[in-house]
């Protein structure tokens, strides 16, 4: 794959038979070992959510630790090429501000939220995803009006940063810009925010890390519904970033109209 973006850990790599490669992506460690007829994939994860560690060793002499999870993928004959790609979460993510946050009446703010990416390993010819694991395991949560109705999501905390300069670039997290527009004449407390991660692709540009498409949320005039739209790829110096991974769920880019309760949850 032609890759003009200097890839810290993603992209294409070549590995000869009986050699091993190692990646450290934040709190996630990955070992890949190519043999004549199979690939051995080993991984382990630390509990630290915000690690900035990054290492790419292709090939490496590093041994696979005993506490790493291992699996093997068999082929008629293995190919030298291997591709690592980031992907967004496979379920929506509910983010909660660390400190109570609300959008003033008639105001529009852009909140920058970073969430962990899933690491995909593409093997074979043609390349296909043979292994996928979240770089950090987010907690499960439930988003809905009752325990009967709702969706199983992941939960994440956010500092709800409003200045891009303050947003740290971490190797295993993608930044999503969420533009929230509050229309009615009342402030909008954001206790929880549901982000449709499976509908977002992953983008990258030099020096800015991983990004997703922008999410636009507009509170309706009635206040009980929200218009959610997945915007275009974020811009970097006036140019669109390079797309690394397509959204898991296609066809969600169009304008959606959902109930207010399904997107935001207000403080009672």
């Amino acid at each position: 794959m032609a890759d003009p973006v200097p890839a810290p850990w993603w992209g294409d790599f070549a590995l000869s038979v009986d050699t091993r490669a190692y990646w450290r992506i934040g709190s996630f460690e990955l070992w890949l070992e190519r043999r004549a007829r199979d690939w051995m994939v080993a991984w382990r994860r630390e509990e630290a959510a915000l690690s900035e560690a990054l290492a790419v060793e292709v090939p490496t002499e590093r041994e696979v630790p005993a506490d790493a999870f291992q699996e093997r993928v068999g082929f008629r004959q293995t190919e030298a090429q291997v591709r690592l790609m980031p992907a967004m979460a496979d379920r929506p993510v509910v983010v909660s501000p660390e400190v109570p946050f609300s959008v003033g009446e008639g105001e529009e703010v852009t909140i920058y939220v970073s969430t962990p990416v899933w690491v995909q390993v593409h093997l074979g010819k043609p390349l296909r995803v043979d292994f996928e694991e979240p770089s950090y395991r987010l907690s499960d949560t439930w988003f809905g009006p009752s325990t009967r109705e709702g969706t199983v999501c992941y939960a994440a905390r956010t500092a709800a940063r409003l200045n891009l300069e303050n947003v740290p670039v971490r190797p295993n997290r993608a930044i999503t810009a969420v533009r929230v527009r509050n229309r009615p004449r009342s402030p909008l407390p954001l206790e929880h925010l549901l982000l449709p991660m499976p509908s977002l692709g992953v983008y990258a540009a030099p020096g800015v890390g991983l990004w997703t498409a922008t999410i636009l949320m507009e509170r309706g005039a009635e206040g009980d519904e929200a218009r959610v739209r997945i915007g275009k790829a974020p811009l970097r110096e006036g140019k669109a970033m390079q797309r690394l991974t397509s959204p898991r769920e296609a066809g969600e880019r169009s304008v959606l109209l959902r109930t207010f309760g399904g997107i935001f949850r207000r403080k009672e």
């Binding site: 509990e47 509910v94 909660s96 395991r137 987010l138 907690s139 499960d140 949560t141 439930w142 988003f143 325990t147 009967r148 709702g150 199983v152 939960a155 929880h192």
Partner: protein, 281 residues
């Protein structure tokens, strides 16, 4: 003997053309049965691609019964029996059969109610009486269940209708209740914080609805508590194991005592303590 057979009218049934008709009717039944089975199985496979297992099962069964009914009607017609007359005669027969097959009829009616009400569908985990397991099929007479230790249990529909059923997988999330007790000397606020921290660290434990900390009362050996956490129904067993293990680890690490039952011997207010003698070998 031959005279007796003729008198009984049975000999006419042994005439060659009658035997031929009988064979034709039998062949029709066999063809109907095979056709019904083939259509039912094919339709079920087709429906399973897009529909729920329950819908596929009900539709394929209905098709099977319809084809078999047509085949039986055809076979009776070949034998020269009028279905209408037979059904009329069946009125009398029904009374007799009704007494004879009370249980089956009851199960049949219960089966129809079960299919209409759908308290559970194929693939659900249910508890009926003392049986807990996965529903394999909901038939006209019985519900087939596979228990967790891989036993095949047939529960009559009548029993299912009469007793209460618990569907363990109806809702997407479930609650795990942990009952525990801590020693009277423990700081309950500290214990509560510890338990909440355990739930926070466990990814299988849902953030919302949040964990529930409940004081159950003062027990014989310690303060009894209930700590409840929520999880996805698919990860119920994993969460149940993980949360118990992590609570034990956290209590051990922080020195929180989980009391085992103990008794204090009291020999009365006025008496002296019970003397204990230690002997060294």
């Amino acid at each position: 003997m031959e005279e007796w057979l003729r008198d009984m009218g049975l000999l006419t049934w042994l005439e060659p053309h009658r035997i031929k008709l009988g064979l034709q009717a039998f062949a029709l039944l066999i063809v109907g049965w095979v056709l019904g089975k083939t259509l039912s199985v094919g339709l079920r496979r087709l429906l399973l691609r897009t529909q729920r297992a329950q819908t596929a099962m009900v539709v394929s069964r209905m098709v099977f019964y319809l084809v078999v009914f047509v085949a039986v009607s055809g076979a009776l017609s070949v034998l020269g029996l009028q279905l209408g007359v037979l059904l009329g005669a069946a009125g009398v027969l029904t009374v007799a059969l009704g007494f004879a097959s009370q249980t089956s009829a009851s199960n049949l009616i219960s089966g129809l109610f079960l299919l209409a009400e759908q308290p559970f569908v194929v693939g659900d985990l249910i508890r009926v009486g003392e049986v807990t397991g996965e529903v394999l099929s909901v038939d006209l007479l019985s519900v087939k269940i596979r228990t967790f230790d891989n036993l095949y249990v047939r529960v009559p529909n009548e029993e299912v209708i009469k007793t209460h059923i618990t569907n363990l997988t109806h809702f997407p999330i479930r609650r795990v209740d942990v009952h525990l007790s801590v020693a009277y000397k423990e700081d309950l606020e500290r214990v509560r914080r510890l338990l909440i921290a355990v739930a926070d660290r466990e990814p299988l434990c849902l953030v919302e609805p949040g964990p529930l900390f409940l004081m159950q009362g003062f027990g014989e050996s310690g303060i009894e508590l209930q700590f409840s956490v929520w999880g996805r129904r698919e990860s119920y067993i994993d969460l149940r194991n993980a949360i118990h293990q992590h609570i034990k680890e956290a209590f051990d690490r922080e020195g929180v005592e989980i009391p085992f039952p103990h008794r204090t011997l009291y020999a009365g207010a006025e008496t002296r303590p019970i003397p204990v003698r230690v002997e060294r070998s």
